[in-house]
Every structure is written in C-alpha cells, then in structure tokens.
Amino acid sequence: MSDTAPLIKIEGLHKSYGGVVQVLQGLDIEMTAGDRVVIIGPSGGGKSTLLRVLMGLEQIDRGSITFGGNPYISAKSGKTAIDAKVRRSIGMVFQHYTLFPHLDVIGNLILAPTKVRGEKKADARERAMALLTRFGLAQKANAYPAQLSGGQKQRVAIARALMLDPKLMLFDEVTSALDPELVAEVEQVILQLAHQQMPMVIVTHDMWFARNIASRVIFCAGGVVVEDGPPEQVLGSPKEERTREFIERVFHIKH
C-alpha cells in the first residue's frame, strides 16, 4: 500500500449511546499507512468511543469508514457491515491491559493465532517467544498476569495484539493506569513499533510521548475534529483557541 493512499477514511461519523448522549457528531478523519496519529482532547470527548468504533466494538448511528479503500463500517447497512476480515487486521490495546488471567503469558499470545487463524501451536509459540524476547519479556513467558507489573502486563498486551500481524494498531491511553516509573518501558515498545512503520492511532495525555511518536496530532472536542496537523504545529502553536486552552490546561504549557 502506498503511503499516500488513505488507510482509514472516516466520513461523517455520528455515534450516541442509547440515542441520548451524543458522543461523536460528524467526525471526518483520513489517515495514510505512513501516519502515526495521536488523538488528544478533553475527557469524555469520545476518544475511546472512536477507537472502539474502529475496532468494531461499538455500533454507529451515521457515517462510514473505509479501510485500505474497501468499505469497512457503514451505518446504512447496520452492524453486519463490519467486515470481519478487516477487523482482524486491526489490533487494539486497552487502558486496563485486559490480559486473560487464566492463561500464562505464552497462552495469552497464542490463543488468537491458534483459534482464529488455525496456526499450529508450535509455530505460534515460536513467534510468541521471538516477540517476548524482543520486548524483554522472555523470562516471563510462563508467568501469569497476576504475577506481572503493570508495565509488563501492558507490553504483553501489545505483543498479544501483534501476534495477529495487524495493519493498524490502536492504543487507548495505554499508560494512564501505570505507575509513573513504568510508563517509559511501555512507550519504548510503542516507539520501537513506530520505527518499523506500523500505522497507529494513539490516545494519550503524555506530551513527551505525543511529540515523539506522532506524525499528526488531532484535537477532538465536542464530538468533532477541532484541529489536525503536524505535532509541532498543533502542540506548539495551535491555531484554534480551544486547542490552545486544552494544551495549556493539560500539559501546563504557556504560549
């Protein structure tokens, strides 16, 4: 896929919960395979909802999304429009790790490849060990999630998503639940992926991380895109008043 053709194209996305709480109100976003999009915005602004929609975890009210030029989600054809094959090429990491507590680390990694793709257990284990080694977790292969630190859990969760060779990774505040001293080890892993040109959408409140990983920063508020541009511009000299206020308040940066 070329770096300029849209990987994801979101048009007029509307989403409410129970028809009452209007969360997304006509969102338009286009991203290419070369993009690493960081989404910032006020809490409750619908950032998680957007990622959950992309992952196929939520139904939408209006609008459409294409993936790699193919229809993916469309409000007109309802829930069935979600293309399972496309969904399988998207990986997501959640704020609260959501590892399977009854499986050890290796078990967490090989469950989906063996069940979804019918990969042989031995092959999946081999790939899993390679990934764990890369993430500095080889000695933890047989540990259970309850025996891991938050940072280790989150790295395992990232490795688990990568086992399915995703074409796009979604990270929803993956360091927000971590003790401060554990944040760096998780961000390093994501930066490593960025260097390997993995397309990603990241929701974060970490300014340093946003600056270092983003090719684009999108400021979302009130269910729409308020500002969208390169990190230096959106974080450094925002055009919109609302963006400026938010950045000053959250990142304590005065312009």
Binding site: L57, L99, F100, P101, L111, A112, A146, A161
Partner: protein, 221 residues
Amino acid sequence: MTFNFAVVFKFQDALLLGLLTTLKLTLICIVLGCALGFFLALARTSKSAILRGVSSIYVEFFRGTPVLVQLFWVFFCLPLVLGVELSNLASGVIALTLYMGAITSETFRASLKSVGQEQLDACVALGLSPWARTMNVVLPQAVLRAAPTLLSNCVSLFKESALVSAVGMADLMFVGQNISNNTARPVEVLTVVALIYFVIAFPLTRAVTVIEHRILKRLAV
C-alpha cells in the same frame, strides 16, 4: 448394651461395593451436571427471552422441590411417560444430574457475571469467534471462579446421593441399611457408614478454603 464393631469388618467387601456405586454415581453426575449447569447459566444470561424463561423455570423448579420427590418421579413416572425401561443406574444418573445442573447453574451464573465486559472486548479485538470466546475465555474463567462453590456443590451431591437407596439402588447407604437389618447391629453399621461419608466429604470441604485462596490470587488482575 455392648458394641461390637468387629461385626462390621465381616461386611467390608459389601460396603466397599456400595461405596464404589456411590462414587460412580456421584462422579458421573458431577461431570454431566456441571456441563448442564454451565449451559443453563449461559441460557439464563442469554439475550433470548425464551431461553431465559425456560431455563429459569427449570432451575427454580428443581431448587424448589425435594430431591427425594425428584428421584421418585424419575424412577417411577419417567419410564411411564417415556414408555421405556430405565435401569436403576440410568434413573439415578438422570435424577441427580438434573438436580446437580440446577444447583451448579446458580454457581456458574454468579461466576459468569464476574467475567467482565473488558474481557469480552479483548476477545472481539483479537477476532475470537463467539464459540472460541465462550470455550477458551469465559468457560475457564467461570470454572476457576466457581471452583470453590462447585466443589461444595459436589460434596452436597455426594451426600444427597444416599437418597437413591430409597429407590433400591445398591449404594453405600443401601448396603449399610441391609447389613444393619440383617445383623441387628444398627449402631455399629450405620456409624461406620456415616464415618465413611465423612472421611470423604471432610477433606473436600477443607480443600474448598485452600482452593478459594489460590484462585483469588491468580485472578486478581
């Protein structure tokens, strides 16, 4: 009155056979009853109102009637209704499985609730099919969480199984009653029978506490 426990030892082979029948019946009904209970629990939490209704009525009915009545019904009425002969073992298995299914479904229902939405979201994000999700994520976690209570359910079943003696199944209780009638030594024989039940049930009830502690530690994430 003097007690002579040596009497009982003459009948140890018969008692052992009775115990084996009790254990066989209990184990079969544990396996079948737990499977039934798990799917009943899924039905009770399903989106379909029909599944929910049918399974609720079933569970409430079996929890709300004496096991002895259920047992008599399966032994004497079910063959008439179905028009087939049922062996003693088959009737016992059916009756106690239906009972075990009802009580374990309550246990599973509570543990299913504790498998959170986040776990299910993770399954969707990993592309697991609903079947793979149920069998590989929901079931094992529900079983783990339910294990201590399930073990208690198993002990209850083991003890309740003595009721099958009332319909003539040659279990431990039935054998014990026979021996006590024939020897006119009810105190010795029935005390030994009670001790045999206790020696098996007691370690299991103790194990419940230990297992509970371990599982809570494992699942604390």
